[in-house]
Symmetry: C2
Amino acid sequence: MAAKTRKRQEMLARPGLIRRRNVAKILKAAETVFASKGFSGASTAAIARLAGVPKPNLHYYFRTKQALYEAVLDHVLGMWVDAMEELHPGADPADALSRYVARKIDLSRRLPAASRLWAMEMLAGAPHIGGFLRGRVRELVAEKSALIETWIEAGRIAPVVPAHLFFVIWAATQTYADFAVQMTAVLNRKSLDADFYDTGRDTLTTLIVNGLGLKR
Amino acid sequence: MAAKTRKRQEMLARPGLIRRRNVAKILKAAETVFASKGFSGASTAAIARLAGVPKPNLHYYFRTKQALYEAVLDHVLGMWVDAMEELHPGADPADALSRYVARKIDLSRRLPAASRLWAMEMLAGAPHIGGFLRGRVRELVAEKSALIETWIEAGRIAPVVPAHLFFVIWAATQTYADFAVQMTAVLNRKSLDADFYDTGRDTLTTLIVNGLGLKR
DNA sequence: GCAAATCCTGACCGATTGATCAAGATGCGC
DNA sequence: GCGCATCTTGATCAATCGGTCAGGATTTGC
């Protein structure tokens, strides 16, 4: 039964050195272009140019612009969700929140395009990930909100509406990727170094930890 | 010398009831479309359709897409800058910061498209407002940062890097416009009512005021 | 009420869009 | 090194893009 020849779609997904290298190049370029121009504003020609491949070659690996976009999104959504696992039962509230903030800001520094693509999707009205938001993310937020509530009931942190706490954390960490251009412009810097992000992390952590009545 | 007929450009800027009404319709539609699709992704046809005017009519009032975009931006940039005036010497730190947060969140509720357009510009790399950021905004931030510093030196608020405090405030207030779609999806709500924004305002205000060692 | 200025719009333009295809080039299993 | 699968690419497609224009309709100033 282990057929020698599989279906077309599966074959296209099979390893193959050339394939993997080209797909990686295209995905990376696509993430950058989609993140700065949005889905409608991005052109497959621009992506192909940045990836260093002819346009028909891009369509050889990804049939449609939509398929390419969804492939890029998959990667981004995964990382976004995974980061929330820093908040888990048994962790010390101040520790867990600090770790989550640190991890989110680290993502903003190392992979800013991912954060920007997420933001771009939201600005566009989340037309491609509505189901994901109403499914996986909603469950995740419900679960983590319940955890925060237990901390509050146990008197370990000050009362707060968990969802809004998350909104603040998400916004204030992702801003270090999404609004990096504004930061460099306003501060008159050529680029943002590690110290800069560390200061951001410390500022936000202090506000949250002190704000929730915790001591560091 | 007060010529009866002025230059073409000035005449085009003259009042006129029909003109004002149509320009307003187009600007409003343009703000919405640019905010969700970005400059490159927005089509003049889509803007004209939403505004309820034929496409050539749109080009009658705004020669180019670029000119229309800049007209929309003007409006947005002005509001963004004005809000910062809540932070002024002589104000009580807790009061001033609370007011600024409240005003910014109020903007996010009442005029979300403006905030989204600002965010869209940043994601695109601020290609149209780089000069504005490095000029007016940089001055403004320097001025307000100096004010924060005086509060710190006077022992009225805990030490903090002013710029990063601003980054947190900007992000956590604008997120109520930029990421509203995510919020409705995650919380399973059809729309976000006034109570929702008030809770957000209170959450953020508490975090900042407590976080900076102030009592409410 | 009559000009002149303003406003409106169908038709149209070249450029760019996402996507396709045939045919050739290259890589790889055996 | 043969043969098949994979990869590459120039040429090309219809659709949409931003923008123009002529000329008719309407408003406005006097």
